[in-house]
């Protein structure tokens, strides 16, 4: 039939064109978002991805499922009814005698039969409230009707931010507290490069079996040490409209944080990834405080430095270096002994020789003030002459400033 030929070949040509368009390559590229998501899923915590529609949440989940070797089941929440998740009531012959069973949908049966899988609940925020209520029970209790999801099934949900959700969906504080909230954004470069034919291939974190006990120990020390000094942050309900529906600190979410720190440590993840995860469990403010405390935990211990001043290894970054030097002065102040005082001077000289001199001025001045009358000035101090000079020049600059602005020089703090 020659009449049909052109139509068929046109479709074939279209098929060829589609195949050409589909030919893309991948390149390895670190992806912090995906790494954070993988760790949270591995840690078996309910994850909620917040992101505008169409920025590749589904694509990320596909990649995650492939790398974890789990079959992916995507359920678009907004096209389902509440009974699809709470179970369809099936009226039997004698409801009063036998009760009304709640029949689960087919995908749930298949998931339970497989025993493992990644369940992705998409578009949580555009579903009607009754559907959302049913879905949240599924996420938090892992039940669909009479079915209990096996432990091998991991659940990830996705929602649009409040400002773009059509009906202003939001989580109540108790519900928000049970999720790891991950903000999903698109990377401009990745999108442009991907449309050009090269999509990123994320290398996913691998947990190091050797590291597990150390990771647990580190996570416990970090969270407990932090909460010991900041009791108000153990439990703080979100206040104000701005932070509604997001993460907030409570014993439950601190427990999740501890788990995620252990996972991130065992996987050797970067601070960026850890920051995303911790912000997602306890919220921005407490997360930043915890991360700042972690930074301090990783600085060299002043006592160790004082014990071996010649081999002291000071941090490269100026602000960290100054924090270490301040710590040393504080340590000498706590237990003033001549040998410790001398060791501290050795470290000051080392700091001067390996970095910017201005950082040494304040710690050196405080250290000099700790001198007892019977202590001889160590020879090392000679080498700090440059610091004294720098300090004097700064004083003179302050005096000149005072003349120019008409404020007395003594007024400076």
């Amino acid at each position: 039939m020659p009449m049909d030929m052109p139509a068929v070949s046109q479709l074939d040509v279209a098929g060829d064109l589609l195949a050409l368009l589909g030919e893309t390559t991948t390149e390895p590229r670190p992806d912090n978002q995906l790494e954070a998501l993988t760790l949270a899923v591995a840690a078996d915590l309910p994850v909620l991805l917040w992101g505008e529609p169409g920025i590749g949440k589904t694509a990320a989940l596909t990649q995650l499922a492939a790398s974890l070797d789990l079959p992916l089941t995507t359920v678009i929440a907004s096209v389902h009814e509440p009974s699809d998740f709470s179970g369809l009531p099936v009226v039997g012959d004698d409801p009063a005698e036998q009760g009304v069973p709640m029949a689960p949908p087919d995908w749930a049966v298949r998931l339970v039969r497989a025993g493992r899988g990644l369940l992705f609940l998409d578009e949580l925020s555009t579903a009607p409230p009754a559907v959302q209520a049913a879905l949240l029970r599924l996420v938090l209790e892992r039940r669909i009707g009479a079915l209990q999801l096996p432990p091998g099934v991991r659940i990830v949900a996705a929602a649009n931010p409040r400002s773009s959700a059509a009906d202003g969906w939001e989580l109540s504080p108790p519900l928000a507290n049970r999720f790891v909230h991950l903000q999903w954004t698109h990377d401009h470069d990745v999108v442009v490069r991907g449309l050009g034919g090269t999509w990123p291939r994320a290398t996913l974190p691998r947990l190091d079996a050797q590291e597990l006990p150390a990771a647990v120990d580190f996570a416990r020390r970090a969270v407990c040490g932090f909460l010991t000094t900041r009791p108000p942050l153990v439990h703080r309900l979100p206040s104000g409209e701005t932070r509604r529906g997001g993460a907030w600190p409570s014993p439950r979410s601190w427990d999740m944080t501890l788990r995620l720190i252990a996972f991130a440590t065992a996987a050797g993840s970067s601070r960026e990834v850890l920051s995303m995860l911790v912000r997602g469990t306890v919220g921005d403010g407490p997360a930043l405080e915890l991360l700042a405390a972690l930074d301090r935990m990783e600085l060299p211990d002043p006592e160790a430095l004082l014990a071996d001043p010649a081999g002291a290894d000071l941090p490269e970054r100026g602000d960290q270096r100054q924090a270490v030097l301040d710590g040393i002065v504080a340590a000498v102040n706590r237990r003033p002994e001549k040998s410790r005082w001398d060791a501290a001077w050795t470290i000051m000289v080392r700091a001067l020789e390996t970095g910017a001199p201005d950082l040494v001025v304040v710690p050196a001045t405080s250290l000099a003030a700790l001198r007892r009358e019977e202590w001889d000035v160590p020879a090392a101090i000679e080498r700090l002459a440059g610091v004294v000079d720098l300090s004097r020049r700064a004083d003179r600059a302050a005096e000149r400033t005072a003349v120019r602005t008409g404020v007395p020089a003594g007024a400076r703090p």
Binding site: V90, S163, D167, G168, T242, L359, A398, A411
Partner: protein, 418 residues
């Protein structure tokens, strides 16, 4: 240590200036010390990149007095602390600004934001520093606000050499070492430095000027645009159970026909009824009220409400219509009693059919109903500068706090935020 080869960067002078800066601004010391110095002959003066490196021209250090250099240090670190590159990128996206001209304007606007409040009190303003007065603008505003107020022209002619680097306006420069270069700070490390500086300011609020205090308060909780918050609150109130779209067993589902023996609910929609109670005490300006009212009406329509289901209740003794009352722009409050929103609530609830949501637009200087009304309540509160209301007869008068059953959205001026 000092005076190396001719033309070399005088690090001692540079660090003396940093020490002076850290002494007069102790709360910025962490940030100042976190900067990594890079010598560069391409930068005109000093410039920062978005990874907290500072590029320094040796010639500029040579010809600038120490006390002015200290000012430049504080100026450059302010760009980074205040995230001017991120905000510049955002402004570029939102307002569709692109190209070197727009970025120069951003640099100038960012400089204005910094220079209007960081100098003085022990710190000298460097020669040639651009100020809002320079451009004929008033001070104390944010970069985004300045950006809208001037264009490149005769007034900015002398500023075209100005270049604080990619850290100030978000446009990459040829001298930048980029994200992979040495000694860059990662985003998380930058946040940690900002956090520590903010903590230092909040811990000793007496020492820092107002601009820095505002920054410290907002550094990690940027103000959200009130339109979005009000929208979210009204949407969520209007689409909660009982109104909007939801499942009901009141009528069988269409699916039921194909599934004998199974009882299914059907999707019903009942458009929400929204009542807007407006505080017409005169302390709320025409423009504010108008824009808030428009916003509420638009949101109510977006969630499926019909125009006829949105009612407006001006709350005052007499039933006046809204327009004439909106002309009270800039008029001070009259008397001590003022409005009593309890009347407005009663009126809104008496009207039939009863509203699902009451949205109150007020400045908060009012009494509130003692019991929770039988519907959801969203309060849009116009923020007022801290001028407490004064009652001659009762000097201890304090307006009631907003009740806990209402969701409160602060309606401020257009906050650009971080």
């Amino acid at each position: 240590m000092s005076a190396g080869a001719p033309g070399a960067l005088d690090l001692d002078k540079l660090y003396t200036a940093r020490l002076h800066a850290a002494r007069v601004r102790p709360y910025l010391a962490t940030a100042l010390f976190a900067l990594h110095t890079v010598e560069s002959r391409q930068v005109p003066t000093m410039a920062v990149d978005r990874y907290w490196r500072v590029y320094v021209s040796p010639g500029f250090v040579d010809r600038t007095p120490v006390e002015e250099l200290a000012g430049v240090w504080v100026h450059e670190v302010s760009h980074l602390l205040r995230d001017h590159h991120g905000r510049g990128d955002r402004a570029a996206r939102l307002q569709g600004l692109e190209g070197p001209g727009a970025r120069l304007r951003m640099n100038i606007a960012a400089d204005c934001e910094i220079n209007d409040d960081v100098f003085g009190d022990g710190l000298v303003r460097p020669a040639g520093a651009v100020t809002p007065q320079h451009l004929g603008l008033s001070g104390g505003e944010l970069m985004e606000d300045y950006l809208r107020q001037f264009g490149l022209g005769p007034r900015t002619q002398g500023l075209v050499w100005l270049d604080c680097g990619s850290g100030a306006d978000g446009m990459d420069r040829e001298w930048d070492l980029g994200p992979d270069g040495a000694h860059g700070l990662s985003e998380q490390e930058q946040d940690a430095v900002r956090f520590r500086v903010a903590q230092g300011i909040n811990g000793r609020p007496g020492n820092a000027p107002k601009g820095w205090k505002r920054w410290a308060e907002e550094a990690f909780h940027p103000p959200q645009p009130w339109r979005e918050l009000l929208g979210a609150a009204v949407r969520s109130a209007a689409s909660g159970a009982g109104a909007g779209e939801d499942y009901s067993y009141g009528r069988p589902s269409r699916r039921s026909a194909g599934l004998p023996g199974i009882v299914l609910p059907s999707l019903r929609r009942r458009p929400p009824r929204v009542s807007v109670v407006i505080d017409t005490s005169g302390s709320v300006s025409d423009a504010e009220l108008g824009s808030a009212l428009l916003e509420v009406a638009a949101i109510a329509q977006a969630v499926g409400g019909r125009r006829d289901l949105v009612t407006v209740v001006p709350c005052d003794a007499a039933a006046r219509i809204v327009h004439p009352l909106c002309q009270g722009e800039g008029i001070a409050l009259l008397g001590g009693g003022g409005t009593d929103l309890r009347a407005g609530f009663a009126k809104a609830l008496r009207s039939g059919p009863r509203p699902d949501v009451i949205v109150v637009l007020t400045d908060g200087q009012t009494a509130w109903p003692a019991v929770r009304p039988p519907c959801r309540v969203v309060v849009g509160r116009f923020s007022r500068p801290k001028v407490p209301r004064w009652d001659e007869d009762d000097p201890y008068y304090r307006p009631d706090p907003t009740p806990p059953w209402a969701r409160v959205v602060e309606i401020g001026s257009a906050t650009a935020g971080r």
